[in-house]
């Protein structure tokens, strides 16, 4: 490099010297000094070029050429501000949409999970045909762990809620009781304090807890002196032994972690009961070299063996394995992939539009290109230069697009709740920017290559001639532009069909009768976890007082408590035995959701009474046990008889479970407990005074906006027990709305993108038609001079546009027919090949195409033959 610098610096002197020597020689040969100098110069050749070429020997030629081309490109873009603005904005929309959606894709599907080697972490659940995936019982977990070899480690995670005490505002927090090896298996290390030890798996271990980072911050101000201090959970003291990393999530939010031994100590009966599937999942790490399929096969064998050995608890229970990533993705995977596909289409349409712009401009530049080729530029060089120009434009669009994506991501955050993302944040990070860079380059190729190749085709001679324009070149270019417009229409149609199907699904879904009236009902959760509620009368007394005090608040119409509130993601199910039924095998008992409710529950939620009576205040602990069944229970188990007066009990009758019969007093309508799209399930209702329950939801129906009652209700509850946390405060309307949140998000975004596609497609077809009208001014003038009526000209232009639209629509329909099936999991109540949607979208596109052609057609009609003919 040093040599390069010296050689180039001395080049001038070297050349000067060379010429002087030659001059000297010439003088010696007898020329006059002037003549001699002139001859020497001539013999030497172009000094500038020599210097240029010499410099090039040392330089990275291509790099300098690149800068040259970029400068040239920028100059051209500056010279055509209109073209540049439209092209840049179009690209910015396409790239911006891609950037925003890719941030989502990355956050949900690609981001590395905060665990060691997360791909070998597996979530295990039990399954039963009655419900599907269910929790694992602790004894089953212990057997799984001891019998399996496919996993190097296994850990149980039992979620437990706590009332956090010793604070001003009582709070309900979520925790996990975990096998002591859990954190080390996940590869998570406490940032402060210690991990659990193996001995803390056994019952009787001392109550200790690890705090989440945020709880540590909020309760202890992030002070390391928190170690060894006590925290009050459910009125009991736990010693703080450590703090979790800030990004810890597995995948749900956790405030405290305790060793499973603490849980088994406090829940010894549940921990021993093989049939008690509380709220436990099992995590396992695949042993090195073991495939997912082999692990599943082994686990299925173990589950089958357990089902055979313990039929009363495990009959028909199997096992389900999922990669841990699935738990983080939730139900977001297919909507996100559909949206990602949609924005790629938008980008393609944007590229097609810009390619069209380039072609139009290229038509104006054929002379320039021909001249450069005549001067010796190779076509490769020209294509390269034009591609760099595209790249510069694409880069500008990309920068603007990233700006749009930043705003877009903010909007996305409004549309997508944190719950849907399991702690991920939708943001622009290195991976997203890398993706944007890729998109920018790809886009530059997509919209730049065709026009560039095209522009180097014209035959130099004819282009340089006067008037230079070959009919054949124009025809080829028009075909190309037509094809681009067709592609845009097809892509727009596919997106519109997708959006249309989503819209129809959502409207169908919102028309589904949930079986209850969500209007003006507020729901809040309470869980009586402290010692003072260990006896049933205290529990009943609390709920009774809450109802008494809330009912008299101004604005309250009715108030009720109950379990398994629809759409609130509660579940409490139990096998039931119906008196007189033929006893099935243990796995085949009816397994309804059990609602424990106060008398006004059914009226508060507006669940219709179909037969018999609903509960009254008389259905108390001293009265005959009473039950209400849902219509589905009545249909399934009492098809040809009146269920009123029949009896059922919870569990299977046995020596250890003497029958406690509940007499059926009424039948009510089915409700959609687990989502509007899901089928109704078996449900039974029993009075809360006959089955005291600590965790219940309070439902309040108000005359006006129910949310306005929140603080009054909170005060009423705290006047009974000031330490009782109230949580999950939400209106039933919001629950219904949240239950379709993913679909709504998909619809909103898909609608937005398809609208964008429609707009770009319309612009595309408008551009093609108006350009063609401009090109054909002469021809139209002749036609009119020969007597063609203006209406014919109008129809001619319109027909040309409709032909493009028609071909585009036809291709689009075929493609949409295939692609829509990919999103069938997102659809509800509508087929992926829904005729109405397809027809509606096709008509919409025809109308838009007509509109886009109308203006150029009017222009064509107004062509003045005299002017048009003189134009030559």
């Amino acid at each position: 490099m040093k040599q390069r610098k010296r050689m180039l610096e001395e080049l001038d002197a070297d050349i000067r010297e060379h010429i002087e020597r030659e001059t000297q020689d010439n003088i010696e040969r007898g020329m006059s000094p002037e003549e001699a100098r002139y001859a020497a110069m001539r013999k030497f050749g172009n000094v500038m070029r020599v210097k240029e070429e010499t410099r090039r020997v040392w330089s990275f030629v291509w790099l300098e050429q690149l800068f040259e081309d970029i400068r040239f490109g920028l100059r051209l873009l500056r010279k055509n501000p209109g073209f540049t603005a439209v092209a840049m904005l179009t690209l910015a929309l396409g790239i911006g949409a891609n950037t925003a959606v890719f941030s989502l894709v990355y956050a949900v599907l690609l981001r590395p999970l905060p665990f060691k080697d997360p791909s070998s972490l597996i979530v295990l659940n039990e399954t039963t045909p009655k419900v599907g995936t269910v929790s694992v019982s602790y004894p089953n977990f212990l057997d799984w762990r001891s019998q399996s070899h496919a996993f190097s480690q296994m850990a149980a995670v039992h979620s437990v809620d706590f009332n956090l005490g010793g604070v001003d505002q009582p709070e309900n927090i979520s925790g996990d009781a975990v096998s002591p090896n859990f954190l080390s298996m996940m590869g998570v290390r406490p940032i402060l304090g210690r991990d659990f030890g193996a001995s803390e798996e056994k019952a009787g271990t001392a109550p200790v807890a690890l705090l989440s980072y945020s709880l540590w911050q909020s309760r202890f101000g992030g002070d390391s002196s928190a170690l060894g201090k006590m925290i009050t959970l459910d009125g009991r003291g736990f010693t703080i032994v450590g703090v979790l990393p800030a990004n810890y999530r597995a995948p749900d939010w956790t405030d405290v972690l305790l060793p499973i031994g603490v849980w088994t100590t406090n829940n010894s009966k549940q921990a021993m009961e093989r049939g008690d599937r509380g709220d436990m999942v099992v995590l396992g790490r695949l042993a090195p070299g073991v495939t997912f399929a082999r692990a599943r096969a082994e686990m299925e064998g173990i589950a089958a063996r357990l089902a055979k050995n313990y039929p009363s608890s495990n009959d028909r229970f199997g096992v389900a394995l999922h990669p841990l990533r699935d738990s983080f993705v939730g139900d977001m995977k297919s909507p996100i992939l559909v949206l990602f596909g949609a924005v790629l289409f938008v980008l393609l349409i944007a590229c097609a539009n810009v390619a069209n712009l380039f072609l139009v401009r290229g038509a104006g530049r054929t002379k320039e290109v021909a001249l450069r080729m005549a001067l010796g530029a190779s076509s490769g060089r020209i294509i390269c230069q034009m591609l760099i120009e595209s790249f510069v434009l694409s880069l500008l669009g990309g920068v603007l697009g990233v700006g749009l994506a930043i705003a877009g991501n903010r909007a996305l955050a409004q549309l997508i709740s944190a719950d849907m993302l399991s702690g991920a944040t939708v943001e622009l990070n290195g991976a997203v920017l890398l993706f944007v860079a890729g998109v920018v380059i790809l886009a530059a190729f997509i919209f730049g290559l065709t026009p560039a190749m095209h522009s180097t085709k014209p035959d130099v001679q004819s282009e340089l001639k006067e008037g230079g324009r070959t009919a054949s070149g124009d025809a080829a270019q028009n075909r190309l532009r037509g094809a681009l417009a067709i592609a845009e229409i097809s892509l727009a149609l596919i997106l519109l069909v997708g959006a249309g199907l989503m819209m129809k699904s959502l409207s169908r879904l919102l028309q589904v009768d949930p079986g209850f009236r969500p209007d003006r009902v507020l729901k809040m959760g309470m869980d009586l976890r402290t010692q003072q509620y260990s006896k049933d009368p205290a529990v009943l007394n609390f709920w009774q007082q809450v109802l008494d005090r809330v009912r008299v608040l101004p604005g309250v119409e009715t108030a009720a408590v109950g379990t398994v509130i629809p759409l609130a993601d509660d579940h409490s199910r139990s096998d039931v035995t119906i008196e007189g039924m033929a006893l099935p095998t243990p796995g085949n008992y009816p397994h309804p959701d059990v609602h424990v409710v106060s008398p006004e529950y059914l009226t508060t939620l507006g669940i219709p009474l179909l037969r018999g009576r609903s509960f009254t205040e008389e259905d108390n602990e001293n009265a005959l046990l009473a039950g209400v069944i849902s219509a589905m229970v009545a249909r399934r188990f009492f098809p040809n008889e009146d269920p009123i007066g029949k009896r059922f009990m919870f569990g299977h009758p046995s020596a250890t479970n003497p029958p406690k019969w509940y007499t059926i007093v009424g039948v009510v309508g089915d409700t959609k407990l687990y989502g509007l799209a899901n089928p109704a399930r078996l449900e039974v209702y029993v009075p809360y005074r006959q089955k005291p329950t600590k965790a219940m939801g309070l439902l309040v129906k108000s005359g006006a906006d129910p949310a306005a009652l929140t603080s009054a209700i909170r005060e009423a509850v705290h006047s009974i027990d000031k330490d009782q946390p109230i949580f999950a405060i939400v209106t039933m309307k919001e629950l219904v709305s949240d239950s379709v949140a993913t679909r709504r998000m998909t619809l909103v975004l898909l609608g937005l993108f398809s609208g964008l596609a429609l707009l770009l497609g319309a612009i595309g077809i408008y551009g093609v038609i108006s350009y063609s009208v401009a090109q054909r001014t002469h021809e139209i003038g002749i036609r009119m001079a020969l007597g063609a009526p203006r209406g014919d000209v109008f129809r001619l232009v319109l027909g040309q546009g409709l032909k493009l639209a028609g071909i585009g629509i036809a291709i689009g329909i075929v493609a949409a027919f295939g692609l829509a099936r990919l999103m069938s999991s997102l659809l509800y109540g509508v087929s992926a090949a829904d005729f109405e949607t397809f027809a509606g979208v096709a008509i919409l596109l025809v109308l838009v195409a007509l509109l886009a052609c109308y203006i150029p057609a009017r222009r064509a009609m107004r062509v003045d033959p005299i002017v048009a003919l003189r134009y030559e």
């Binding site: 040599q3 050689m7 010297e17 030659e22 013999k43 030497f44 010499t54």
Partner: protein, 114 residues
């Protein structure tokens, strides 16, 4: 006039100039102008090198390490840059000469079949 010139003088093939420079320097180090003169003289003026084109070629050969450069004074006590063949350049010249001979023989056989 110009057509006559074109008929008698042969334009250099790409890379041929490099070969001629190496061959010239085989006889000893020379400065730029002397190299041009030597090529013209030795080819009996058939090969007319545009003298300027010597410089990109010299720089190219330096970059490749086939020749080296040193400061010196010429016969009439003027500052000059002398170019010298390196051992690497010597090997390259041998290689290129063999290639050239082969090519020349092949073309001669085609143009003048026996």
């Amino acid at each position: 006039m110009s057509t006559k010139e074109q008929r008698e003088r042969i334009e250099l093939l790409q890379g041929t100039l490099d070969l001629l420079i190496l061959r010239t320097l085989l006889l000893g180090p020379r400065h730029g102008h002397a190299i041009a003169k030597a090529i013209e003289f030795n080819s009996e003026d058939v090969l007319q090198v545009e003298q300027g084109s010597l410089y990109p070629a010299l720089h190219r050969l330096i970059k490749r390490g086939w020749i080296s450069v040193e400061e010196g004074t010429s016969e009439n006590n003027r500052r000059a840059k002398f170019y010298r063949l390196t051992p690497k350049g010597r090997r390259q010249l041998a290689l290129e000469t063999r290639k050239w001979d082969k090519l020349a023989r092949a073309i001669a056989r085609i143009l003048r079949p026996a």
